[in-house]
Structure formats: C-alpha cells, structure tokens
Amino acid sequence: MSGARIQVDGRTVYVGTGSGHPDPGAESVVFVHGAGMDHTVWALPARHFARQGLRVAAVDLPGHGRSEGPPLDRIDTLAVWLGEVLDALAIPTAAVVGHSMGSLVAYRFASRMPDRCRALALLGTSAPMPVTDPLLNAAKDNHHAAIDMANTWSHSTGTLGSNANPGVWMLGVGERLLERSAPGVFHADLTACNTFDAKSAGAKIQCPVLVVAGDDDMMTPARAGLDVAQALPDARVVRLEGCGHAMLNERPNEVLDALIGVVPT
C-alpha cells in the first residue's frame, strides 16, 4: 500500500509509506511537507528510502491531503502533533526531513525532542519565516491569487518549460496541489510560518543537520538557510544553483542525492 491511516487525538492521519515493506527493526525517516502541500511532494525520496528498506513516514499534516482537519496554525503545535504521530506509529527515533513550513516543524521537533531525532534535513528553510501581507491576506480570503503568488514565487524562472519528469507541467503540479487545500488551510499554514519564533528555536539540536538552499529561492532566500546552518553545531549546506523554493519539484534528483548523504540507513 502507498500509505497508512492512523488515529491521533481521535482524528484520522494519513502517513505515506513510499509503498515500502520495512523489516520490524528498520530505521525510520519522516517527511514533513510545506504550506498547502501534502505527502505527494515526497514521492521520489519516500519511494527511494522505502526501497532501501527504511521505514518511511511522509505525513499529511492535519487538514492536508488525506488527514482530517482542522489545520494547526502554530509551528510549536505542529511539532507536538508530529511527536504524537510518531508515538502512534511506534517510531522512537527517526531522521526528520522537512520542506519550507515543514522544515520549521522538523526544526522545532528536533529541538523539543533531540533524543528522537537522529538526523535533520531542512529544505528551503528560514528562521524566522516571515510571510508578506498580500499573500497572507489573499490566503485569508481563500483567493486564488494566494495560490498564484505562492506558486510563482516558489519556482525559479530558469526552469520554465522543463521538468525532470518529462511532460509534466512544472508550475501546474504546485498549483493543482495548492488548489486541493480546503478553505482556511493555506492561511493557517502561512500564519504558522509567520508567527514562528526563531529565538533559541534550534537550541539542543545536536544531531547532524543538512540544509538544502536554492540559490534562486525567493520565498526562503539561500542566505536565510545559511544562517540557520550557522547557528547549529553540526550542519552541512548543499546549495542548488539556479533552483527556486519548490526544489522537490525543480531538482528532485539533486535533493535526493543530498538527502542520501544525511539520512542514516
């Protein structure tokens, strides 16, 4: 099966497994998607690590994809929720990978529960992660302009018309995914990003950290990612030249290569 449905706080949570069949003692890798997205953004790395025998948990955050709502609009709440999901899945420790808003959830989770995090990968990250008012307001009104803004700014101009998956419309994939969000979900996500308190957010993180930064990222500029890495004791940075914020869409293979270097197998 592609995923599993579990109950957390009386609500259904969907967890993508990358269609793996891991052995009982297998190491785990957890994926946390960004604002308005769902587990499908991780299709390539989830399936890769599942094939390597890892236990994959690509969560749909509350109100996203196949998980029941309501959405949670604070990073701290999401980090606590992630811990509960791992409890429910009986995953004691894991490598945690997050993209964009998901990188903050992973970051906060690793800081709150450092002993549960074996490695951390932060893709397209920034701490803090302020969101511009026009985007927040459009999302609040559930206006399509929010999707257009976020999606356009998430892609570098250099990738227009090309896709590592030939024939797949680069911008269309992001747009369709955002359009699937229920009303209010995208705004809750952006609020979570915007209210994230970066002060001492990374304290206690001792595990190896990978930061992947796109040089053409307009949402979380590469500079911000480098700052996050600099504040951590054991962080490595992979920069993707000419890549925008939607790096899983623009450079799936290079992101996977970087993850292979940090996810323990």
């Binding site: 592609s2 299709a43 030939p166 024939g167």
Partner: protein, 211 residues
C-alpha cells in the same frame, strides 16, 4: 494526451487501477502516492515510457502550431505532387508511376471516393535501368533531400534498392513488392518548376549512365 490534474479519480469510483492497490507496481496506489499527478505518472511509467511515445511540452507546442496551417500546406503538397506526377508519367526514362489519381493505379476508383481532395504527396515510381539507374538518379538530385522519412515541407527522395533495402537481392525485393528501380518521393512546398527541373536533370543523367 493532456491531463489537467483536476479530476477526482477516487470520487468517480471508476478507475480502480489508479485508486486501488496495483499489483503491477507492488501494490502502489497511484492516486495516493502521486496526488494530482496520479494519471500522468501512470500513463508515462506504464504506457508512454514502455512504448517510447513521450512528447515534451515544447514538441506539443510545435505540433499544435503546425496543425494551424496544415490545410493550406496540404493543398500545396497535393498541387505540387500532381504536377510532378504528370511530368514523370510522360517521361521516357520512367517505367511507371504509382499514384492513385492516375487511371492506371489499381485503387484509382477507391481513391476518388475516399480521397476526393487529393491522394497526398507521397508516391513512388519505377525508373528504367534498375538498381544502377536508381542510384545514379538519387545521387544527381540537388533539391530533393535524400531521407527515409516523408511528409516534410521540403521534398524528399529515397531509392530502397541502393539504400534502406540494399542487402536484398532482386528476388527478395520483388517478394516485398519493391522493384530494383523503385524510387519514393515525398513532394514538398517548393516551386514545382524547380522540382521538375531537378528531376529532369537527374533522370537524364540516370538514363545516360544506364546506356
């Protein structure tokens, strides 16, 4: 094939190979694993990649743009082809011309019924003098491009007995319905007087060489 990524495969209940565990991919559920890309990923992984017909968006754009002018191009292709056929049909170095609009063609009546606006611009003729004459002929053409494909905006020619089918002897060629002097033409959009001039020169050289 274009998929907008908006169709709800699960709600429709009609597409179990996208919404239920699929044995061909180790119980993968496409709609769950790939979300909006469920259909296109399956189509590409299991259909297009296996058969090779993978079109890029840029190619699709070129095809769509080409279709816009196809009707007027076809008129010109057919008009040019008719002039070239008439020229070859009368030429002393030509054994026969196989074009459905000629009354000598076995499918002439059928063609008149099915293709009333013209029988296209791809046809073949037999040159007198067999394999050597055919080779000399194509080697002496200058406007016609020597290519194995058809339907281009420029005129194309091929002589199977000296190129694509050169390994076959006369008997094997005959069994395949290919004469040793058979030449296939694909008539393009050039000025037909230039095409006929080119054919005329090459036919002259070929018949001189065959003597």
């Amino acid at each position: 094939m274009i998929d907008g990524g908006t169709f709800d495969w699960e709600a429709s209940g009609k597409f179990p190979t996208l919404t239920e565990a699929y044995e061909g991919f180790h119980d993968l559920v496409f709609a769950e694993e790939f979300g909006p890309q469920a259909f296109i990923v399956r189509a590409r992984r299991e259909g297009l990649r296996d058969f090779g017909a993978c079109m890029s968006p840029t190619t699709a754009f070129h095809v769509l743009q080409g279709l816009e002018t196809l009707p007027i191009r076809m008129e010109k292709h057919v008009a040019n082809a008719r002039e070239v056929v008439a020229f070859l049909d009368e030429h002393e170095a030509v054994e026969s011309v196989s074009y459905p609009e000629l009354t000598s063609h076995p499918d002439h009546d059928l063609s008149a019924r099915l293709l009333p606006r013209g029988a296209g611009a791809v046809f073949s003729f037999d040159i007198k003098g067999g394999r050597d004459a055919g080779r000399t002929f194509i080697e002496n053409l200058s406007i016609f491009s020597h290519l194995a494909n058809v339907g281009d905006a420029k005129s194309l020619v091929i002589h199977p007995a000296s190129t694509t089918h050169h390994r076959m002897d006369a008997e094997a060629l005959a069994a395949a319905g290919i004469g040793e002097g058979l030449v296939r033409l694909s008539i393009g959009l050039e000025d037909p007087r230039d095409l006929i001039g080119d054919l005329s020169r090459a036919l002259r050289r070929a018949s001189r060489a065959a003597r």
